[in-house]
Amino acid sequence: MKAVETVEAPEVVEHPLESLLRMDRIPHIWCSTCGIGTVLTSFAEAVKKVEFPLEKICVVSGIGCSGRIAGYVKLDSFHSTHGRAIPFATGLKLANPELKVVVFSGDGDIVGIGGNHLIHAARRNMDIVVLCINNFVYAMTGGQVAATTPLTANTSTSPYGNFEQPFSLPHLAASCGAVYVARWTALDVRRLAKSMTEALNKKGFSFIEIICPCSTIYARRNKLGTGLDLMKFYHDNSVIKHGADTRELDIEFQKKIIVGKFIDRERPTFLDAHNDWMKQKLKDKFIPHGGPQC
């Protein structure tokens, strides 16, 4: 009879992103093969690379599947109302300009109900980063048609297929004045992380659209297979075209997706424009806002 070999318990290794995630809230609520977790991983990688102190980075979300991101990042995080993450972030940023404020939410939240805030924040060049996860439907409520649903795609409220023209998000953000505009898929984990780092380091309104698989609802209704099949689709059909004309970025149902960095330009932010203008007009009578005051 052989002696039983004693096996030493493996050393418990800390998850590489543990310092950035609220581990006490894991497991998360997202479906298996949902792309949001992957996108969050890219974000955590990006945050590790930037030089801001972590306590100065804030995440603001709205409502929806992607809106739950605020609840998983170990940063000051605010889970606001549906569509209002951008104005909430505007208040937060203007109250304390030292903060790096990131709006992390979904297409229904940022472009559907909150579309007006998106265009105005871009117009003002509010110094925030907007990361918009686009899964083409209102997923949290069961997969209803969205302002981003491709023509002909089936959703629970477009049971005969969608006949409304969707928005092209990079074109919308760029037209309204965003200084940094990019689009990636959830498959592009490294390129996305790099792009997020650039957006975090950029001063002004930065916008990244992230095409993300929703296998539970969008893929199932449209018979597109599993999350893995969608990732394979992104792999075979996304084309990197940096600097592409944003008028040519429409997404058609199951056709090629153009990704890349489209806009990277400079423009005075809301606060810089405010301060410069007031200084010019009021001279030494102007007292600039100096951050938290209570």
């Binding site: 889970h79 104005p87 505007t90 208040g91 105005h120 007292i287 005051q293």
Partner: protein
Amino acid sequence: MKADPKGVLTGAHYLDGDHACSEGAIAAGCRFLAGYPITPSTEVAERVAERFPHVGGIFIQMEDEMASMAAVVGAAWGGVKSMTVTSGPGFSLMMENIGLAAMMETPCVVINVQRGGPSTGLPTLPGQADMMQARWGSHGDYEIIALSPNSPQECFEVVIKAFNLSEKYRVPVLVMADECVGHMTEKVVIPEADEIELYPRRYTKLPPREYLPFKPGKDLIPEMVKAGDGYKIHITGLTHDEKGYPAMSWEAQEKLVRRLVEKIRLHADELVDVEEMEMEDAQVVIFSYGISSRVSIPAIQKARKEGIKVGLLRPIIVWPFPEKKVRELAKKIKAFVVVEMNYGQMYYEVERCAGGNCKTILVPHGGGWVHDPEDIYKAIKEAVK
């Protein structure tokens, strides 16, 4: 703590109620206003837009009232006293994020210079028909505090009080003015800064490891932190536990929502602010607020000349309702005459608290103009019949 002299325009001024609200806010230390133009409240924002660059404040005209209110909540968490100002339709649009402020226990102030409604109603003319909306307008159960000024001088004072109460109880506080008070111009005396007492934000002294954002103190109110302090807080509009984490259960709902309600209800006695006039021997009591309380005075004077013992009870804090006061009075007097510019809102609160112990008579008015004092006088006569 005392007001920062930088923001206090000490001296006697000739101001309208809207401008007095602006000065009250600046004196109270408000340094962020997000708003959207709407008559008859716009002058508050206009004066702030002019004054803020001189005192280190940020004014931003947002794209709508939903954005304005959301920005106000965000700014509060950024560590600045914040407010917005609106009227009728804008107040309706702010409701969802007023609920967010209540749920996130965010100190902030909303001024509603009421106009005639419903819908677009009477944009340039007075109303007092948003009183129940102030109380119940956002969905779900919660308590807020609301005040009603009846003069430009009181606009200045009430807005400071509103900021102080919002800090003390960590609730959105609503200032329910009306078009008449907002647009009437009177003498406003602004005191020295060191005569203005401000309630400081209730920041925690606990280190991040020990701090729980929604763990209440004995008074049911939790201590606050602001973004950027290293506490890595999570603040959500979802039902949450003491840590601030979403908690989807009836137990968590019971614990949180009960506290949101009780943190105000248990302090109801501290939250009584009424003005009493000729009340010592009063048998009939006019219950009225805002401009209607001033229109009631000629009726009181006329009735007094005829020997009718009538007085005025004017709530300055309208929510929470001064229940105890009304309940006790009802046992001693013949009647309450409620004068308000609507078809019965605070009236039903008076009737409820009177509990059948005295008559309750409503003198309604649809808004657009003030009451005819004669109608109030007639109601007083009916009360003593």
